[in-house]
């Protein structure tokens, strides 16, 4: 099977610092993959490389068999990679509903003239987006908060809204950057169930960064471990838990 996302020998230099080096990764369609590693290992940098925020200094990144190196972030999103952010980046002053509606942007089928004169497909498309957005909010139990300003939501709800918004872009690959950060154990458990459920429901492939080991080990089918910008191990959760390299990276010890 052809991998959905494939990174080959990717290097990313920030001046003299090697943020990511000789990075190889592949994700098959339908997989739920985790990317873990100590702070500063380069996990978010890897996400930024996949989404076009950074361009790799060297190497190749392919999505659906085509190179995405050199594409702008919005072009990559339109090809089917959506993401959430480690430090939440909602449209803070807008309503919960508008946050999701914005993400339908490139699926909307009416032009500028139709929008300004409110003719043609304007009303039907607006109605369609609104229904779709409400459907997504319902899945994430946010429908009762649809008219609330995003910044007023509790932290856990903001994280859920970020995922709902990313799904509105109807991606094939969803990148989740620490989705459980700041959540209590019960919220984390709910989130795990939800991630599993949306993967099956939407036929998604998911790559997630997470520090919460119970979450990663609980739901990921395969895990990559990153340290100092290099992948030091990969495998199933059971393999990773017993990998001496990983234990050394996390707990220290004489190398």
């Amino acid at each position: 099977m052809e991998p959905l996302l494939k990174a080959t020998r990717v290097n990313e230099m920030f001046g003299g610092l090697k943020a990511v080096s000789n990075f190889n990764l592949h994700i098959d369609p339908g997989e739920l993959v985790g990317l873990i590693g100590p702070n500063g290992a380069g996990k978010t940098t890897a996400f930024n490389l996949f989404t076009g925020v950074y361009q790799p200094t060297e190497g190749q990144i392919e999505f659906l068999g085509k190179s995405i190196v050199g594409l702008k972030p919005h072009q990559i999103t339109q090809r089917g990679i959506a993401r959430t952010f480690q430090n939440i980046r909602l449209f803070a002053e807008l309503s919960v509903l508008d946050n999701v509606k914005i993400a339908f942007h490139f699926h909307v089928r009416y032009g500028l003239a139709e929008a300004v004169m409110r003719i043609g497909r304007y009303y039907s498309e607006e109605q369609r987006i609104e229904n779709e957005a409400m459907k997504l909010l319902k899945i994430f139990k946010l429908d009762s908060l649809a008219e609330e300003t995003a910044k007023n939501l509790p932290y856990g709800a903001q994280r859920r809204l970020e995922i709902a918004r990313a799904l509105a872009a109807s991606p094939k690959l969803l990148l989740l950057d620490e989705p459980a950060a700041g959540m209590n154990p019960q919220e984390t458990q709910e989130l795990m169930d939800m991630i599993h459920w949306i993967r099956d429901q939407f036929g998604l492939t998911i790559l997630l960064i997470e520090h919460d080991m119970s979450l990663v080990m609980g739901i990921c089918e395969r895990i990559y471990v990153l340290e100092y910008g290099e992948i030091i191990a990969q495998g199933t959760p059971a393999e990773i838990q017993h990998n001496p390299e990983v234990i050394r990276a996390y707990l220290g010890g004489e190398a």
Partner: protein
């Protein structure tokens, strides 16, 4: 899906159309009232001119709000685009005897073209840098015009036919406001607002940031050009000193005072600033003091402006309008 049918409709078609109809009806009533005031001589020529200026300033502040308030790009060159529209239109009407509408269309088109051309490189800049670039742009336009003999240079362009009438400005204002209202309530407007709120997140949602910045800038410039065309035909003469940096700043004050990202705010801001300066016309020495005091008080008590990011319709009395609420309130 049964549960979907019970979903609350936030922006149903009929509610939107009813709301538009209500706005249109209000405008017609307002128009008729003011027009009646003119014909019955209840409103003198001084206030007649100022009402026309208020309408033009509403066009200017609403279009600037699209750039500064909705898209979050701090532009200080609005008077420059106004100047382009003004001069292009007077050349057409005065030298070629074209009707006002032709001047407005071509003036707006030229301003839009310039806005697009200049927006492409400058909109890569952020915040202060963009403000300085657009400020410089406005000044460049003014100085270029000042040095073109064909349009009278610094002395100004004279002999302009007095074509701007109240119906013209009022209708143009309504068209402008509807255009911008519909734009910001569409996916394109939402994209602009997303750019303002968070550029990185907007790009991650598939929004082409540069495209929407340039689009907002171009539309804003187009309406500034149209406003300029109307402004130019109010008097018999225009000269470059009407389009200085201070004029751009004036429009900015209207937008900020009314509230960034609020059309109702732009209307209120343009009204308050224009009416205030007209009312204080006889005491020019107090004008600037009161102006400054008003801004200081605003900064203390309502730093977000009169309506910051909120439309009048968000306030309680509007939500009580039964016929709008039957199928969900309007935003």
């Amino acid at each position: 899906m049964g549960e979907l049918l019970q979903m609350k409709k936030y922006n149903s078609k009929s509610a939107m159309q009813k709301f538009d109809f209500l706005l249109l009806a209000c405008s017609v009533v307002l128009f008729a009232a003011i027009q009646a005031g003119f014909s019955m001589d209840l409103i003198g020529s001084f206030w007649k001119l100022n009402i026309i200026l208020i309408c033009i300033n509403i066009i200017m502040s609403a279009s600037l709000n699209l750039i500064n308030g909705y898209t979050g790009q701090f532009s200080l060159g609005h008077a420059g685009f106004m100047a382009v529209g003004a001069y292009v239109s007077v050349i057409l009407t005065t030298n070629f005897g074209a009707p006002l509408i032709a001047g407005m269309v071509l003036g707006g088109a030229c301003a839009a073209f310039l806005g697009c051309l200049i927006g492409l490189p400058t909109l890569r800049l952020n915040g202060d840098y963009l403000a300085i670039a657009t400020l410089g742009l406005g000044e460049i336009i003014r100085i270029v015009i000042m040095n073109i003999e064909y349009v009278g240079g610094a002395a100004g362009f004279t002999g302009i036919p007095h074509l701007t009438t109240f119906p013209w400005v009022f209708v143009t204002m309504i068209v402008t406001l509807f255009f911008i209202k519909n734009f910001v309530n569409s996916t394109h407007g939402r994209a602009c607002i997303a750019v303002r709120e968070n550029e990185i997140a907007a790009a991650a949602m598939g929004i082409n940031i540069t495209r929407y910045k340039v689009m907002a800038f171009t539309i804003g410039a187009a309406f500034a050009g149209i406003g300029g065309a109307l402004f130019a035909h109010c008097f018999y003469i225009i000269n470059p000193s009407s389009f200085t940096f201070m004029q751009s700043f004036n429009f900015l004050i209207m937008v900020v005072m009314g509230g960034l990202g609020s059309l109702t705010g732009s209307i209120a801001g343009a009204f308050v600033v224009t009416a205030l300066s007209a009312a204080l016309a006889s005491w020019p020495e107090f004008r600037m003091i009161i102006y400054a005091l008003a801004l200081i008080f605003l900064m203390f008590y309502r730093p977000q402006g009169l309506f910051g990011y909120v439309e009048l319709t968000a306030y309680a009395p509007f939500n009580k309008l039964k016929f709008l609420n039957k199928e969900g309130g309007q935003k």
